[in-house]
């Protein structure tokens, strides 16, 4: 009789709503800016790694197609579908998506933003959206300032020091902010002259075309300052094509991908600003999982402060750290 009672009690406990909740997996959606992009792919791998480590977490990726409207609609669909507990977003439009994410938080979803903060001010890393759980990103001004200051150091004693800026696309608010930061830092030094600006559109091909044209008017340059490693690949080909030696020119990119790490080790490129796509995905998913489990998580996680590598990676640092592996291929 006692055994029967015990068995009945066990069955009843197992079938109770509380037990069902405990067994339900945590479901997270990763809204990639584009699923067909190396940086976002590394972020996705980070999300998957955090889910695997936590256990009983299901993750799903959505392709934002580098289109703000597509991503906005995805948030609405997720709210309406009710399948997910949380959203990790790599925003295509940091301002426009805010309204949809507020609706998501009001609907009870946990939301994390990676790479950029969501809201009107790209330099404010604490939540600008009501109810946002966390932002996993570094202040773009800090990275851009560090890159420009490396150029200032290189240009010391060189007058004029001719600089070409290769920026992603100035129509993007974050690229505009980086560009303004470059100009502000470099503008404080009379010996530095920004002779041209080219848009690389995060493509080696577009960068090659733009830089080849720039070289026609400015065959003598000292520095190429870029926010993206992909741009330097095009710059390298243009310099080789024009028969201009690469080594004397200071080349600094951004993103810290594996291809650039190899080029810096070879001595072709000089430096790159660090990027942390895998870490961003991992920390964002980890934060949402912990928040879902009732833990308190920080509302801003800066991957730069948690990383082992410095904000600007140089050949000296790579030589001292031969085992370093970049977080993404390129």
């Amino acid at each position: 009789m006692t055994r029967k009672l015990l068995a009945a009690l066990l069955v009843a406990t197992a079938l109770s709503p509380a037990a069902a909740l405990a067994d339900d997996p945590i479901r997270l959606a990763f809204l990639a800016a584009s699923s067909q992009n190396g940086y976002n792919d590394a972020t996705w791998q980070g999300v998957q790694a955090a889910a695997k480590e936590a256990g009983n977490v299901e993750v799903e990726i959505f392709d934002g197609e580098f289109n703000a409207a597509v991503q906005y609609a995805q948030v609405e669909d997720i709210i309406a579908g009710g399948r997910f507990d949380g959203i990790i977003v790599a925003p295509n439009d940091t301002v426009g998506i805010a309204t949809a994410l507020e609706e998501a938080t009001e609907a009870g979803l946990l939301v994390a933003s990676v790479l950029f903060p969501v809201g009107p001010d790209l330099t404010v890393m604490t939540p600008q959206v009501k109810g946002l759980t966390t932002t996993v990103a570094s202040n773009p001004v800090i990275g851009a300032t560090a890159g420009a200051e490396e150029v200032v150091t290189f240009c010391e004693g060189k007058d004029p020091c001719k600089v070409v800026i290769m920026i992603g696309q100035l129509q993007f608010p974050f690229d505009n902010l980086r560009y303004q930061t470059f100009q502000t830092v470099l503008g404080q030094h009379a010996n530095i002259k920004v002779v041209a600006t080219g848009e690389g559109s995060y493509s080696p091909d577009a960068s090659l075309t733009a830089f080849q044209d720039i070289l026609q008017a400015n065959p003598e340059i000292d520095v190429v300052l870029s926010n993206a490693d992909q741009h330097l690949l095009g710059v390298e080909i243009a310099l080789k094509d024009a028969g201009i030696p690469i080594e004397p020119i200071y080349l600094i990119g951004g993103g810290l991908n594996a291809i650039t790490v190899d080029k810096i080790r070879e001595g072709l490129f000089d430096a790159t600003a660090s990027g942390y796509p895998f870490s961003e995905g991992f920390y964002a998913a980890d934060a949402l999982i912990r928040a879902k489990q009732g833990e308190t998580v920080p509302n801003w996680i800066d991957p730069a402060t948690l990383a082992k590598n410095p904000p600007i990676v140089t050949k000296e640092w790579l030589d001292a750290n031969p085992d370093f592996v970049a977080e993404w291929e390129g």
Partner: protein
Amino acid sequence: MTDTTLKTAARPPRRIRIADLAREYGVLVIIVVLLVALTMLSGSFLTPRNLLNILNQSTPLFIISCALTLVIIGGGFDLSTGAIFGVASVSAGWLAVSVDPFFAIVAGPVIGMVLGALNGVIITAFNVHSFLVTLATSLVYRGMAILVTNGKLIPVRIEEFSWLGRQKLDLGGGVAVNVAVIVMLCFMALMMFVLNRTTLGRAVFAVGGNEEAALLSGIRTNLVKIITFAISGAAAGLAGVITVSRLSMAEPQAGTGLEFEAIAAVILGGTSIMGGAGAVWRSMAGVLLMALIGNGFNILNVNPFFKDLTTGVIIVLAVALAAAGNRR
């Protein structure tokens, strides 16, 4: 009085000639104006090196536009050239690294030709408009490019492969021309020959002008369409291989938007979007016009915010000039 009468009598033909010239050569007029303006604004513009630079940069677009001209004259529309460019790029990159660099150079255009022919077969077998079919297949082909690479770049640092995009032939006097430019010029000459001097070319005009009449006169219209799409695909493949060879890098997103640039160049040159009329040289002029605008902006270091606006205004001017000629 006689002089006046003679002058009066002579005027109408001259007006007609100017109107015809505007219609026929509107894009060339804009090109000449741009050439003069850029030469005056920058001492770096009118140099052999920069002019060859413009040709080299635009080689992929020149090749695609040449072949697309045949498709559009034949009454078709190809929205899949950018995606075929992407598939051929990553396939050639992968083959160069994994199999053989020379095989990869040949395989790119062949893959493009097969995919283009597939477009033509679907269009003719199901009698669906080429706009819809190529819109759909462009998604399929782009998906294939992503599957090959998993969305990542493929570095192809192999000299046996990169010669096509990077090697130059010395013309003397410090001027060297890229092998890719020579390939492009040969391809252009081939397309002009096919369109103007072969039975196939005449059939393309006939199919685009009046398909029913062409069919009744014994032309195998479906075969002609399939061939034009196969040529377009092969051109996209060749352009993709040249680009990968030049960059030593294959990327799945390569060629995104290229189809619209190519269509814009063909239409801008004056080839009829309705089919049945046009010329390869016109498309070359269209590409050159767009290349000059981009080159000018970079050389003059103009704020990129104005680039799209200026490009749009110049295209409207060119089209308006041609349209004005038509009205007269």
